[in-house]
């Protein structure tokens, strides 16, 4: 899959986040823009550094996307919509989990340095 597919990958992941949120609350546009900017940068970095393995990784990545949505819904419990604060707290939760998994599987830069 070429790197130009980065926006389609983002579409796929945000759809998964929406699945996790469900129809209970709407999502503020600035939260969408924040997620988009953040994960576009991360994905682009990952693809440039490690090649595009999205087809192989998709099932796992979209599962994380759904979890991101569920965490955002949880953090938005007191708000009428999923706002920027809830989105960023959810990202923090998810990225902490991803980082721990990457270290465990020897995929993070820190782990690669340690084994190099």
């Amino acid at each position: 899959m070429p790197v130009e597919h980065i926006d389609a990958i983002l579409n796929d992941c945000l759809l998964a986040a929406g699945q996790g949120i469900g129809t209970e609350k709407s999502v503020d546009f600035d939260a969408v823009l924040w997620w988009r900017a953040r994960y576009r940068k991360f994905f682009l970095h990952a693809i440039t550094a490690n090649g595009n393995s999205y087809e192989t990784d998709r099932r796992r990545v979209t599962a994380v996307g759904r979890y991101l949505g569920q965490r955002a819904l949880h953090h938005a419990s007191a708000s009428p919509s999923v706002d920027l604060r809830a989105a960023s707290l959810a990202s923090h939760d998810v990225e902490t989990g991803c980082q721990m998994n990457a270290v465990r599987e020897g995929l993070s830069p820190a782990a690669q340095h340690a084994t190099a």
Partner: protein, 163 residues
């Protein structure tokens, strides 16, 4: 010696012909729309996901179909009406929920929504938008009236990209 050049330090000079002419303004607008459309699509995909919920996944070729189907229509809508996303967002994302709901229904219990199901759901939604827009525009609503708002619900997905 300070060689740093700031915006203020650039002397005003003659602009190349056409630099700020209508063609250049149109090109700037087209570029702005190109940059905006992907964020708008992300917003719509999120709402489609909300409509699907955790009932089923969506095949990646179905994701690509939705993107390839609606991206040119959104660009055409912006070319004709400007970028009104912030005004229209609530209405259009509600239609996104509906698209997700229809697609999940067409998948009828399958673990993943395939290309065929999303195509059927998209056709339903476009027909709905077209009918809704046509019926309400028959009321000749003024801008800001209920009829005008309903017309907006349709125009994002009913512009022919070739127009």
């Amino acid at each position: 010696m300070n060689t740093e050049m700031t915006r203020q330090s650039i002397p005003p000079g003659p602009l190349a012909y056409g630099y700020d002419g209508p063609a250049a303004v149109a090109a700037d607008e087209a570029l702005a729309h190109e940059q905006a459309v992907d964020a708008i699509l992300d917003d719509c995909f999120l709402s489609i996901g909300q409509g699907i919920g955790l009932r089923a996944a969506l095949d990646f070729d179905a994701v690509l179909f939705v993107r390839d189907n609606f991206r040119p229509k959104f660009l055409a809508a912006m070319r004709h009406c400007g970028n009104r996303w912030l005004q229209d967002r609530t209405t259009v994302t509600a239609v996104g929920w509906m698209l997700g709901e229809r697609a999940a229904r067409y998948a009828s219990g399958a673990p993943s929504i395939n290309l065929d199901a999303i195509k059927k759901a998209s056709a339903d939604i476009e027909r709905y938008c077209q009918l809704h827009a046509t019926r309400r525009s028959g009321g000749r609503g003024r801008a800001g009236s209920e009829a005008a708002t309903a017309l907006i619900a349709g125009y994002w997905c009913t512009w022919d990209p070739k127009e």
